[in-house]
């Protein structure tokens, strides 16, 4: 896999993102284009976006990071959970490719999404809330395998949903606080993110959210290859108006 140090010219494809890294005298040039699945993009001057970085003669590093904005996940089919029941689902989130200088001080050159996610508003009304990305998910019960398409550029997030209320509840969307999540890589090259657990205690009570700072059990043995953009700030996830909707 292409994560890690890059010393020479290279090019690659991650999801919808096709990119070129060109080493020049006194810097690097980074070009990219977005193409649909199975589409072979043409590297024409008009189509490819190029950026030039004048910098010391150092290598660059490619790191997967979580998106910089929370993500509203919509299961393909609404998930109804019985009272007192806990359901564990796996959602996979397209990572962002971070290109940074390697030494002496890491400096972020650019960040490129491996998939262009649509924007969505998450809030009680159109006055209060926050901008998020929108993502449809299958919210599977089974852990995704390495053979799946784009498996190596998606971070798997184990999500436990606890219905601690007295009534069955259909969950149509979840807000995942992606900027507070690390990325771990397991021995097969799969990317993982922190395990989240959310507890629903009824319409009148506030949801409880917990983000495990450690790597999920399914990923072990694994190493943390990218730290969260934002500090965890305790177990609760302030800033989210409603975890469920």
């Amino acid at each position: 896999m292409m994560w890690g140090k890059v010393a020479e010219d290279c090019e690659g494809r991650l999801g919808e993102l096709v990119f070129w890294l060109r080493k020049m005298q006194g810097g690097w040039r980074i070009g990219w284009i977005y193409a649909e699945k199975d589409e072979v993009p043409e590297m024409t001057a008009d189509a490819v976006l190029w950026r030039r970085f004048a910098m010391p003669e150092v290598g660059i590093r490619l790191t997967p990071v979580m998106p910089d904005t929370p993500i509203v996940l919509r299961p393909a089919a609404p998930l109804t959970i019985f009272p007192g029941h806990t359901e564990k689902v796996y959602v996979s989130v397209p990572v962002v490719l971070r290109v940074e200088s390697d030494e002496p001080v890491p400096f972020v050159l650019c960040e490129l999404a491996t998939r262009r996610l649509s924007l969505s508003w998450f809030g009680r009304d159109t006055k209060e809330g926050r901008m998020c990305y929108a993502l449809k998910t299958r919210a599977r019960e089974m852990c995704p395998s390495v053979e799946e398409p784009d498996a190596l550029c998606r971070a798997i997030c184990p999500l436990e949903v606890v219905n601690a209320s007295r009534e069955a509840r259909a969950f149509e969307r979840f807000c995942l606080h992606a900027p507070r999540m690390n990325i771990f890589r397991d021995s097969r090259g799969l990317l993982w993110s922190n395990r989240s657990r959310v507890t629903y205690r009824g319409a009148a009570a506030r949801e409880e959210a917990f983000l495990d700072p450690n790597a999920p059990d399914e990923s072990l043995p694994s190493e943390c290859i990218a730290w969260a953009r934002e500090a965890p700030g305790g177990n609760g996830l302030p800033g989210i108006l409603n975890f469920f909707a």
Partner: protein, 270 residues
């Protein structure tokens, strides 16, 4: 001349120092007040409070200096009272503007940097002063509007909320299938990542026009990208119509020919 000659020169010097020191202290304290209130109150109110502090301190310094010069302040204040009545009558409009400015600052219908539409004048709020509000129009004209006018006018704050809805009217020919057109419009909105997924786009079959089927595409957009997304979406709708061979609405022109006149013209033709 006699008045100035009765006091030693030292008095004039001290009075001058008082004035200068007053101005300096007023500036320092005014700035201090603004800094202290930086995170507590908005920019406009901070500016007003800072200016008020400066004004009061300068006034006190001036009165002290006059007192030091042994000028009878009672008589001066009496004269100032009579003058005040006269000036008050003359400056009714200005006073009204000042009070309206204070109300605008306290009510906060807009703040500096907001885009507002005031009776057809569209622009960015540049400053809210005691007497007037300055609007920078998009063609870079600076428009001064008295605060009294602002209070009475209907103001639309365009950037008050983070997201806005764009309503785009679209018309197609009568021969087209409305359900297919609506689906195509919905797909086009969904394909644009900057059109918000939620609140979801709304496609309204607005009506059967005289010459066209009329639709309205209502999409929610991040306010900072409003115009760019609106433009790109219209281009994408046009491209989708071209690709799917959806006919645009052309107003039909029907020509009625009088048979008698037609025969007359035919006979006259060479």
């Amino acid at each position: 001349m006699k008045f100035f000659s009765t006091l030693p020169y030292g008095h004039y010097f001290v009075a001058m120092v008082m004035c200068v020191a007053g101005v300096l202290i007023a500036n320092v304290l005014g700035r201090l007040v603004e800094q202290l209130l930086e995170k507590r109150v908005n920019a406009q109110l901070r500016m007003v409070l800072g200016k008020s502090v400066r004004f009061v301190i300068v006034l006190i310094a001036l009165l002290c200096a006059l007192s030091h010069l042994q000028i009878n302040l009672t008589a001066l204040l009496g004269a100032a009272g009579i003058m005040g009545v006269a000036v008050g009558f003359a400056s009714q409009t200005s006073l009204s503007n000042v009070i309206c400015g204070l109300f605008l600052i306290l009510e906060r219908p807009f703040k500096i940097g907001d885009i507002i539409d005031i009776d057809g004048t569209l622009g960015v709020v540049d400053s809210i002063d005691f007497l007037s509000t300055f609007i920078r129009a998009f063609d870079n004209r600076l428009i001064r509007i008295p605060n009294e006018t602002m209070m009475k006018a209907k103001i639309t704050n365009i950037t008050s909320f983070p997201i806005r809805r764009a309503d785009l009217p679209v018309s197609v020919a009568y021969s087209e299938d409305p359900a297919r057109v609506m689906q195509l419009l919905r797909d086009t909105c969904n394909a644009n990542p900057a059109c918000l997924v939620e609140p979801e786009p709304l496609i309204i079959f607005a009506g059967l026009g005289k010459t066209s089927l009329d639709f309205t595409v209502c999409v929610w957009i991040d306010r900072t990208q409003f115009l760019a997304v609106k433009n790109s979406l219209l281009c994408e709708i046009k491209a989708a119509f071209d690709r799917e061979k959806i006919s645009p609405a052309y107003p039909p022109v029907v020509a009625h020919v009088n048979p008698d006149e037609f025969e007359f013209l035919r006979r006259r033709a060479p």
